[in-house]
């Protein structure tokens, strides 16, 4: 059957790409700034802003858990979808194996994040 007659399953991945892209556009810069620059250099935020007890409590709270999961998972789905298309752009055509590798990596990160967040406890 020709591609024009087959329904595409892309909406699933495109939806995750779009959601992750929007989240990264709105919150990506500030998150990188907080976790990677402000806290390590003690700018604006206090030196113990990301201390273990505080971050553990954050990860144990349902809202904190949800936030961490959504950021890690959606950023990864966004990135892997885009990388898959960029590989296609560079002439590495997205065969089934490549699709499995890219989306599989995103799925792996998603499941690992979920597993860790459950393991952290409630």
């Amino acid at each position: 059957m020709k591609p024009i007659n087959r329904r595409s399953n892309a909406p699933v991945f495109w939806g995750l790409f779009g959601a992750g892209g929007m989240l990264a556009a709105l919150f990506g810069p500030v998150l990188v700034f907080i976790t990677g620059i402000a806290v390590p250099l003690v700018l604006i935020l206090p030196a113990d802003a990301m201390s273990w007890p505080r971050m553990q409590a954050f990860a144990q709270h349902w809202a904190g858990k949800g936030l961490l999961f959504v950021v890690v998972a959606l950023f990864m789905w966004h990135a892997m979808h885009r990388i898959l298309h960029s590989l296609h752009d560079l002439g590495v055509h997205a065969g089934t194996a490549l699709k499995f590798a890219c989306y599989g990596l995103a799925l792996l990160v998603t499941m690992t994040a979920a597993w860790i967040l459950v393991a952290v406890g409630f």
């Binding site: 591609p3 024009i4 329904r7 595409s8 909406p11 699933v12 495109w14 298309h85 752009d89």
Partner: protein, 254 residues
């Protein structure tokens, strides 16, 4: 024309030639063309054909950016040859090639069979929601309803957007920007009732999800159509159809 171009200006026009009966592959051939400031690239090509080399092939018709025949790559950009002027190349040379991403039939003539087949598939005409008899009068539409699709109806099928779309070049199965602009023109028309049928094409593996929002298609359009917008609005709609089908399995038999 040779006699009237008397201001002494000459431009070097490099043309990508391909004569399938004798050339293995395309090659650039240069011509020195005398020109005046009011001459388009198309007129430059006509000068070549009339005075320098009658074997050069290219498509043209209206000379005024409405027929959509003379699309070509001019210094690497998809342009209408009739809407691009020789005076705008101050370096004194301009390169003219057949539209990118299409097979070359001969010289500057591309093969558009693929586009025409796709155009036919989307049924680019109004299929009325409800048939009206002559006695019932015309199909009325408000200015707001017209505004939703009007710009998309300006498409002249010149294919510049295809030459601007790397995704079409990489995967010619992709229906592409122009077809999606036309598909959207009819789907968004309040009088039309065939959107569901056309959305099967938009949501197919050859459809909108091949687009990676490069956006160059909308930049090069000589009629100010925004094909990128047509493609991307239909991503949202096709995704909606995809997920709604799971909620309402009855409508999703196809």
């Amino acid at each position: 024309m040779a006699e009237t171009s008397g201001n002494g200006k000459v431009i070097r026009v490099e043309v990508l030639r391909y004569r399938p009966e004798q050339d293995e592959e395309p090659f650039l051939q240069g011509y020195d063309v005398p020109f005046t400031d009011d001459m388009s690239v198309l007129q430059g090509l006509q000068y070549i054909k009339d005075w320098l080399d009658g074997t050069l092939s290219f498509r043209w018709s209206c000379r005024m950016a409405i027929c959509g025949s003379c699309g070509m790559m001019i210094d690497g950009e998809p342009r209408l040859a009739c809407k691009t002027f020789l005076r705008d190349f101050p370096a004194g040379t301009v390169r003219v090639e057949a539209l990118a991403h299409f097979p070359i039939e001969r010289d500057l003539v591309i093969r558009m069979d693929d586009f025409l087949a796709k155009l036919e598939r989307i049924k680019p005409y109004i299929i009325p929601k409800e048939e009206r008899t002559l006695a019932q009068g015309e199909y009325l539409q408000t200015p707001a309803q017209l505004d939703v699709y009007e710009q998309f109806s300006s498409c002249i099928n010149c294919l510049l957007c295809y030459a601007a779309c790397p995704q079409y070049g990489l995967n010619p199965d992709f229906v592409g920007p122009g077809i999606m602009a036309l598909l959207h023109r009819y789907n968004a028309d309040s009088r039309d009732g065939a959107a569901v049928e056309r959305m099967e094409i938009a949501g197919s593996e050859a459809g909108v999800f091949n687009c990676t929002a490069v956006g160059y298609c909308s930049e090069v359009c000589p009629k100010h159509v925004d094909p990128a917008n047509a493609v991307n609005q239909n991503k949202t709609r096709a995704a909606g159809d995809y997920f709604l089908r799971l909620v309402r399995p009855k409508g999703g038999a196809k």
